[in-house]
């Protein structure tokens, strides 16, 4: 049963939080957040390459934050969906905080948000449109992280990226459920 079909927003939110509350950061992510520079820097690999990968991810995450902001301010979302959008946006903010601090620890400079993003505003006329748009971005994010994980020189960074990938996949599944599609369409992601 989709929590989007629950008429009581409080119950819907409780159900959502109950489903997602077990999510924890991976050990690598925790270590990075805790400022374990040695762990972040060891395990070889190209620091410059890793910084480039992280910065590309940050760029996409910042755009996702802006997209959720657009949805939240659209006036098209019902309260439970708005709460969900804000929750997912919060996850993306956490991703950016982790990734940006890691870039700094590796001696790089993290990219920052653009002044303006190009979103298909004229096509977002209903809650369903917003949800489909968000689902599209989240699906892309899953593929992007999947394509980034094997590239990291530092395996701890790969592990942290995989942790984020799991979060993006959950976002995508929930959004698919909300728009009436099979939440998990296949056994493998590409």
């Amino acid at each position: 049963m989709s929590f989007f079909k629950i008429s009581d927003p409080v119950a819907a939110r409780r159900l959502f939080l109950g489903r997602s509350g077990g999510m924890v950061l991976s050990g690598a992510a925790v270590a990075l957040l805790a400022g374990n520079d040695a762990l972040a820097a060891k395990a070889g690999g190209s620091k410059a390459g890793d910084v480039q990968i992280l910065n590309t991810a940050i760029g996409a995450e910042l755009e996702a934050i802006a997209a959720y902001q657009l949805g939240a301010e659209s006036g098209l979302l019902t309260k439970p969906v708005l709460d969900l959008a804000v929750t997912f946006q919060g996850h993306h903010k956490e991703h950016v905080a982790l990734l940006s601090s890691t870039v700094e620890k590796l001696g790089g400079k993290a990219v920052i948000a653009k002044a303006k993003y190009n979103f298909p505003i004229d096509q977002l006329k209903s809650q369903l449109d917003v949800l489909k748009f968000a689902a599209q971005l989240e699906q892309g994010a899953v593929s992007a992280y999947l394509g980034a994980v094997p590239l990291f020189g530092n395996r701890n960074l790969a592990k942290a990226a995989a942790s984020i990938l799991g979060d993006e996949a959950m976002h995508w599944a929930v959004l698919r459920q909300a728009i009436g599609e099979a939440p998990v369409p296949s056994a493998f992601m590409a």
Partner: protein, 137 residues
């Protein structure tokens, strides 16, 4: 004699099936390519620049030539012109094809997926979404 004819028929049937299989493999599917394109949507759009540059007009375009997009130095100096061959090579392993590219993505490993994706990019370029004045990004 009968056995000999049967053998010939079987051989002819096998040859036909093999040819059909080759034709099936050789025909890229743009519709399926659109599904493959979903992998690109974290960073790309057809008609607008995002983390990556727009894809409308990609075929035949010189790499790093979309005005106003902030390309990596590696892409700027790649000398690539995007066509089926160069796209196929790049998409297989972007960071091997252009070391230093900002497209930090491991690639599309299956050749048929790449062919379908390229077929989609070619097809969609002729559609309304990629025509001047289109509102869709």
């Amino acid at each position: 004699m009968s056995t000999g004819r049967q053998t010939i028929r079987r051989a002819a049937l096998c040859a036909c099936l093999a040819t059909l299989a080759m034709v099936a493999q050789a025909a890229p599917d743009a519709t399926r390519g659109e599904q493959v394109y979903a992998r690109c949507l974290a960073c790309h759009a057809l008609a607008s620049d995002r983390v990556g540059p727009r894809h409308c007009g990609l075929i035949g375009r010189r790499a790093a030539s979309v005005a106003g997009f902030d390309y990596s130095p590696a892409m700027k100096h790649s000398g690539i012109v995007w066509n089926e061959k160069s796209l196929n090579g790049f998409l297989a392993k972007p960071m091997r094809a252009v070391p230093g590219t900002s497209m930090t993505y491991d690639g599309v490993p299956i050749a048929a997926d790449r062919a379908d994706l390229i077929a989609y990019l070619k097809k969609v370029n002729t559609e309304a979404v990629c025509q001047p004045g289109s509102a869709k990004p």
